[in-house]
Symmetry: none
Subunit: 126 residues, 4 copies
DNA sequence: GTGGTCTAGACCACC
DNA sequence: GTGGTCTAGACCACG
């Protein structure tokens, strides 16, 4: 459900947090639902369980997850609100990336091409 | 001529490298031209001279800049070629950012909004 | 494994790069092997960790090392090839030094003496 | 009479000083002889007159040169002694270079090859 | 524990 | 004034 890019300058940590918030934003995960297990996620994303654990711990601190020892993590009631804040952060990062792309010399046409490519990639995965 | 975002997940020194390559891509800097001085850039971008020096040293190792001690840095003859590679990297980073934005829950409409905002911001600066 | 001469006109970071490439050339380090840790090297060579980090970063940019955050640096598969290039640089530097020694007034006999001394020094260390 | 290698890690400054001392060591310049003019050397070596001037100033401070305003620089009576010290420095630098070459992975055979090449180069220039 | 980045400030070589 | 190198120490991301 989530995809990680280990080469991205955005820390894996933040990618996990953003991904989970995205799942809530998209309605694929609702308050009260059980979140994926830390170990399961670590295996499927091929990253260190410690990194996932830290992301979950931070989400719990933010009140996005309710963690129950020996059971698992559950989407908190306040999660949708937190997810909305995550959206704003995601927009900020996108804006950053766009400005940097422009500064790096990309034309708006180049940017349109990249967007098209990403859209196409999503279709294939469907 | 270059703008730095200290809050960006992309390291400052990479932003400098990308920015310089962008100036060449845009034709604002040509082979043989003198690059901005390390200290001057550091002051105008309000960052540490050492950080700029690091970016410049790496650009020199890549053959993008010719550095002359006691004189300054000059755009190398092979710079346009190197800049083209920089373009590809910039595209990769943009692609990353888009995928992460999508994963974070942004709709394509949201993304269009952000693009519009960035375009508008550029117009204002003109 | 590596020795640094802080009084040498050759920058310390270049000495580190040359030393690591030498270890590969000599077969003491092979692709896939773990390189010494930055902090460990810094301590044993009695130099600043930042200086070692700089050398390692450049080796990583050249593709000689694969650096894994939180883990360590590994000798890349392409390292032996890069090491061969390093050999050529080392020869160039030696040629320089010889020409300067000659220009400084050293006779070929003097030079033979120095070579003998260095050979002898190596034997002692054995 | 002197040759400079601008790419050498040994500062140009020191190359000039070493070269002059070498001329005395070789007997091509004797106490009381007029040294080459600063401007003339700068032109023939294609380097900045300021750099030559600094080297000469330091040689004067060391007592190797007698500088006469409006006339030129002359080899001091004590020059041969100073030149002998220069010889020791040159040997030290050679020793450094050899050790670094060995550490960089050069075999003694490689080193012999380089020496042969330098010898050959000198013959050609004759 | 590991590497990665940045700041701050020093000294050197050179124009 | 310019670039080049090194030290020192801080903070972050990761295992």
């Amino acid at each position: 459900m989530i995809e990680i890019d280990p080469t991205s300058p955005l820390p894996i940590n933040d990618q996990i947090k953003g991904g989970l918030k995205g799942l809530v934003t998209k309605g694929l995960l609702r308050p009260g639902d059980k979140a994926p297990s830390i170990r399961g996620l670590a295996v499927s994303l091929k990253i260190n369980p410690n990194t996932v654990a830290r992301a979950f711990r931070e989400l719990a601190l933010e009140g996005f997850l309710d963690s129950k020892r020996g059971d698992g993590n559950y989407i908190a009631r306040s999660a949708p609100g937190q997810a909305r804040e995550g959206l704003a952060e995601a927009k900020d990062r996108l804006r950053d990336a766009l400005r940097q792309a422009r500064q790096g010399g990309l034309s708006w046409d180049d940017i349109s091409d990249v967007i098209g490519a990403v859209k196409g990639g999503e279709d294939e995965t469907r």
